[in-house]
Symmetry: none
Subunit: 190 residues, 4 copies
Amino acid sequence: MNKESTGGRPISAQASAALKEAALRLVRAKGYNKVSIAVIAKEAGVARQTLYNRWNTKADLVLDALFEEAQNYAAAPSLNDTRDSRVLLEEFLTNVFHHLTDNGDMMRALIAAAQIDRAFHDTFYAKFVLPRDRMITDLLRLAQTRGEFSSDRNAELVSGFIHGAFWYRLLNRKALNADFARAIISEFFD
Amino acid sequence: MNKESTGGRPISAQASAALKEAALRLVRAKGYNKVSIAVIAKEAGVARQTLYNRWNTKADLVLDALFEEAQNYAAAPSLNDTRDSRVLLEEFLTNVFHHLTDNGDMMRALIAAAQIDRAFHDTFYAKFVLPRDRMITDLLRLAQTRGEFSSDRNAELVSGFIHGAFWYRLLNRKALNADFARAIISEFFD
Amino acid sequence: MNKESTGGRPISAQASAALKEAALRLVRAKGYNKVSIAVIAKEAGVARQTLYNRWNTKADLVLDALFEEAQNYAAAPSLNDTRDSRVLLEEFLTNVFHHLTDNGDMMRALIAAAQIDRAFHDTFYAKFVLPRDRMITDLLRLAQTRGEFSSDRNAELVSGFIHGAFWYRLLNRKALNADFARAIISEFFD
Amino acid sequence: MNKESTGGRPISAQASAALKEAALRLVRAKGYNKVSIAVIAKEAGVARQTLYNRWNTKADLVLDALFEEAQNYAAAPSLNDTRDSRVLLEEFLTNVFHHLTDNGDMMRALIAAAQIDRAFHDTFYAKFVLPRDRMITDLLRLAQTRGEFSSDRNAELVSGFIHGAFWYRLLNRKALNADFARAIISEFFD
DNA sequence: GTCTAAGCGAGACGGTACGTCAGGTCTTGCT
DNA sequence: AGCAAGACCTGACGTACCGTCTCGCTTAGAC
């Protein structure tokens, strides 16, 4: 259901793109909370008000930028892949861990922002957390149909356990590496 | 090595207590980030500088206050308790979940603060996270000596999994209740 | 000299009228500087740019609107009126004071705008102040030909004194009433 | 009646002085409404909030600065001066006109600000307009006791007329010179 | 008993960032 | 070519905190 446009200047896709690009670049360079909204706008060569026209907070902008960037990655494991589920999960986790290692500060900042701002929490959960949670749930269910993961287990619950496992390490600034991915596999794939 | 006192007015224990009390009360009433340092000081009837004399940040103060309050609870499961380890762990988790249910916003705020401020992260981890992590590690090791938990398992790792499980739910604002405690037990025991 | 029309959509007289009407109404209702250009345009159901096509500033628009409205009043004293000049002037001043009492805020705002914006000052002076100044000058000169006002006096100067007298009261938010009109008469008609 | 100080860092006279000096200098150099609060504060080397601690608006600050500066002038005509009242008034008006010629833009801006902001109007009237009005009223009353000004005249009213006369010229950007001072004298004396 | 060092309440100070608002300019499609 | 709609840039505004500082006062051990 599109908004019925009855005229008016169209919003500038260029401005949005410049803002997202600047936001990610600055946040990666200086750290999330060392970057102000004003600086992002100035760096993007865009008026501050234009930023407020699209996003309510810095977190909204960064989440949006990160989300868009993530679209370019083959994020979800393919459910048509015939390799063993353990392999698929390990591959997926390894990918995620690479991403988290590169963007750890940003992810921690976004999770922090979600704790502070209820409205942002809801967006963050719906757009970021839940979809990723579902990817593992779906993978586990696939594994169950294949007989590689016990049908007695609650896939949703286990997906939460898996996410919790690496969130806990992320938030406590512990390394997320291939070893840990394997540890998770051998814990939950009995 | 004590600081050599060569005179001067002693610090007021009353001021510290009033600050901690006010901090917890206000944070519980209005939410962590709706309370400013200035308001806590004013509510405690104390000068702002007096607060800075003791703590560097609001998070430090609140952590300290919360930590002190927690001392009054029998936090750690007794290792002399002869009941089944499953029961001990379930009891412990249920206690923790009660506490988290009452102080969820504050705990989320502290975890958020730890993501934003590296110095606070270190204090928070050392004074809060690690000790609690150890309680479960120790309990699991006890269970191993009793033969109630497989000696092949890495107690430290599993403790991290358990904490991750409820951190993930805490941070995503899901309920933490007795059912979830039991789900954890049956996931990780056997 | 009419603008040579080379085709295109004609100017909408309706839009201009709606803008003037909305401007006066809103300024009277909410006060001059509580009303923005955007609000006037929206209230008139007109695009903001359309307003800019005709007037440069809010002050220009309001002045124009006020000026037009004033056309409907028999503003200047008739020079064919055979009554005593004192009576004519008193009647004129009383009329002016009524108008100023009703539109005091707007007039003060216009005078203020003229102090702030040089270009507006010139328009305001030429279209509003000077014509009204001349009305009294002319009246005084008539009185001189009739022998009701000393021919030695400088009519232009005295007109300035008279206007100054009520501007000073207007700008200092003092009442402008019939008593004051009489006081002026007896001061300057010796 | 001093404010009862109950402790706290004393306000910095230096900061206030720097702000007033910067305000007058910038306003004289660039014009009242081309100077923002932020620029004044920056030019004074003072935090913006410090300015807000003392004055509510730019107009308040500038009025204060101008008022203070005026203290250094022998503003009011001495009532012990035995010269003819006409001479005293002429001298006073000439002084005022010099001041207004130098600070015309600022004075027009302050009068404009008083029309826009009711709170500022009251301050401006009480601290600036009324005292100056009284100076002439007092002078006229002195002239009455000396028999140099008819006792039948209402000194207060005439003072208003005199002020109105030069306000009107000031606000319409006409020259205020010695000739006009003399014209006023000869209008209202005898 | 003075001296001295430090804690304390109070509150001003220099800063940074925020979100809002108004004014003017532009771009689009419609009339 | 005027118009409605509305996004855009600019720049000022007032507020909220932050952490530091400067007072005058008080506390209590040292001399």
